[in-house]
């Protein structure tokens, strides 16, 4: 991967495309923690790709490529979220919202959505970055522009919310 990123940094479009395709599912998952509409997620990821392509030559440390990419994505998501106040509280919960995207019918997507519906936007992103993407709390703090202690607190609250809500379903079975 580092070789591809090096090539992309030198302007190789094909290498850049391969790197993005490698991370496209991760980008989708992270964007989905902050935006509920697929069209908005697609906009955010598209803008992220274009922005990353235009500025990748400025990236100093290629080992931080993904963190850098995720930071751009989060900023794009925040921009779209702020532009569209309609998204407030719009995160859909299966069975309660007819406008849920069809992909939520998928079992895994459904589990993901149900878990996410318990949390607020920051908590969702923190959990996905920590558990799914493997970032440390320090790195998450940098990506989300928060104090590390805030990230830890939010993660703790998120865990507590999930534990309270899912205990009966998942743990006592």
């Amino acid at each position: 991967m580092n070789e591809l990123i090096k090539k992309a940094k030198k302007g190789d479009k094909s290498a850049f495309s391969e790197v993005i395709l490698y991370y496209q599912n991760d980008l989708y998952k992270i964007a989905r923690t902050r935006l509920s509409e697929n069209a908005d997620i697609e906009d955010a990821v598209q803008e992220t790709i274009i922005s990353a392509y235009e500025s990748i030559h400025k990236l100093k440390n290629i080992s931080k490529f993904k963190t850098w990419l995720v930071t751009i994505l989060i900023n794009q998501c925040n921009r779209i979220y702020n532009e569209q106040s309609k998204l407030k509280n719009a995160y859909c919960k299966y069975g309660l919202n007819e406008n849920c995207d069809a992909t939520t019918q998928d079992r895994i997507n459904l589990q993901f959505d149900n878990l996410m519906s318990l949390l607020n936007s920051d908590e969702r992103t923190i959990l996905v970055l920590y558990y799914s993407e493997g970032y440390k709390t320090k790195e998450i703090a940098r990506i989300l522009d928060m104090n590390e202690s805030t990230v830890r607190n939010k993660m703790s609250k998120a865990r507590q919310k999930i534990e309270n809500n899912l205990k009966e379903d998942y743990i006592n079975e």
Binding site: E42, I49, I50
Partner: protein, 370 residues
């Protein structure tokens, strides 16, 4: 680590199913990125394909140059090999006209893992090909002489195809009879003089495409739009196009060499498959799970151990990429099944002992395509 962490991980570590529109949007964005002027990479990128595996004794001595514009947009490097070696067919078919719109299969490529084709569409006079940004074949179904479904867009189309036939499989029963899994498509060329569009379709499958001798491409509508992204505002050309194509022998007589693994120097690695095809080499391996966390570990210790494991993984990946010219990693469905099965069987043990699968979950059971 406590039980709730495992519950969260169990959900969050799985890949989400992304909508087709998302994949198409990403592909479109990548395709339309401008070339950079300071691109110092040579357009002729030579891929050394000579591979000597410490554990496989496997040699494939093909060196080739990638100095063409790829017609079939696919990031499986095996496709490059295929096209560069002339592994593509231009069938002798005529345009089929329905309601003033003509269509024919311009060329296609088929191997075990890739199936791509170009369809040329001559538009009626009231439409201007140069203004069309997006096109698609609606209710597309591709079948072969043994009524196997190579690709089918939707269930209704399959049910119509099934009528009057004694098929032993149903829509969505993925396997050797129903191979379809995914697709992407885009307009490759527009010719104003002949008012023609060339629409490329790339199909892919985790199964294997059959060794078909004849193919039939059928679709009911051709939908066109002057806008690239949005799905509404489409012009619908109605009709029923059915195009038959003979598959050349080089496609259906393709061979695969299976290598047997005698030994492997890495104790943590079990090689489960090593095969060489006309278009690519493929091997898969499993990496052993590893206990790294102890009960009572602080978060700092967990982070430290996790980072060590991560770097160990990266080292293995880098070695594979540099030493064996491995170009891409793809998680296999099998890996997920194994993980789910393993997790189910060991959930109590996991919770009790504090085992961590974290870094092994996303892509540690790898299929590698060269």
């Amino acid at each position: 680590m406590n039980s709730i962490d495992y519950v969260i991980e169990n959900i969050l570590l799985k890949d989400l199913q992304t909508p087709n529109s998302y994949t198409q949007r990403v592909n479109y964005t990548l395709r339309t990125l401008p070339e950079k002027k300071n691109n110092i990479m040579s357009k002729k990128i030579k891929f050394a394909f000579a591979t000597v595996c410490c554990c496989l004794c496997l040699t494939v001595g093909v060196v080739f140059a990638k100095n063409y514009i790829k017609d079939f947009f696919n990031f499986n490097a095996g496709m490059d090999t295929a096209i560069e070696n002339g592994y593509i067919e231009e069938p002798k078919t005529e345009y089929i006209e329905v309601n003033d719109t003509e269509a024919k299969i311009e060329n296609f490529l088929m191997d075990d893992f890739n199936f791509s084709f170009t369809v040329s569409i001559k538009l009626p006079d009231n439409l201007d090909a140069s203004k069309i940004a997006r096109g698609r074949l609606v209710n597309l179904i591709i079948t072969d002489e043994e009524n196997r479904t190579i690709y089918c867009e939707n269930k209704d189309t399959f049910e119509k195809f099934k009528q009057g036939k004694d098929l032993k499989y149903e829509f969505g029963e993925y396997g050797e009879n129903f191979v379809d899994n995914g697709s992407n498509w885009y307009i490759k060329e527009k010719d104003s003089e002949t008012n023609t569009l060339k629409l490329i379709y790339n199909l892919y499958t985790p199964n294997k495409y059959p060794k078909s001798k004849k193919l039939n491409f059928s679709f009911t509508n051709i939908n066109l739009s002057e806008r690239e992204i949005y799905e509404n505002e489409e012009t619908v050309l109605q009709g029923n196009w059915s195009i038959d194509v003979d598959v050349p022998e080089k496609f259906y007589n393709r061979e695969c060499i299976v290598y047997t693994v005698e030994s492997c120097s890495n104790k943590n690695m079990t090689i489960t498959q090593a095969e060489v095809y006309d278009t690519c080499m493929k091997f898969k391996f499993d990496l052993a799970f590893k206990k790294i966390y102890e009960e009572g570990d602080t978060e700092e210790e967990i982070n430290k151990k996790g980072a060590e494991l991560f770097y160990e993984q990266q080292k293995i990946e880098e070695e594979l990429k540099e030493k064996y010219m491995v170009r891409d990693f793809q998680a296999e469905a099998k890996a997920k099944e194994l993980q789910e099965k393993w997790l189910k069987e060991h959930s109590e043990e996991i919770a009790k002992e504090g085992w961590i699968l974290y870094y092994y979950w996303n892509s540690r059971n790898l299929g590698i395509y060269i």
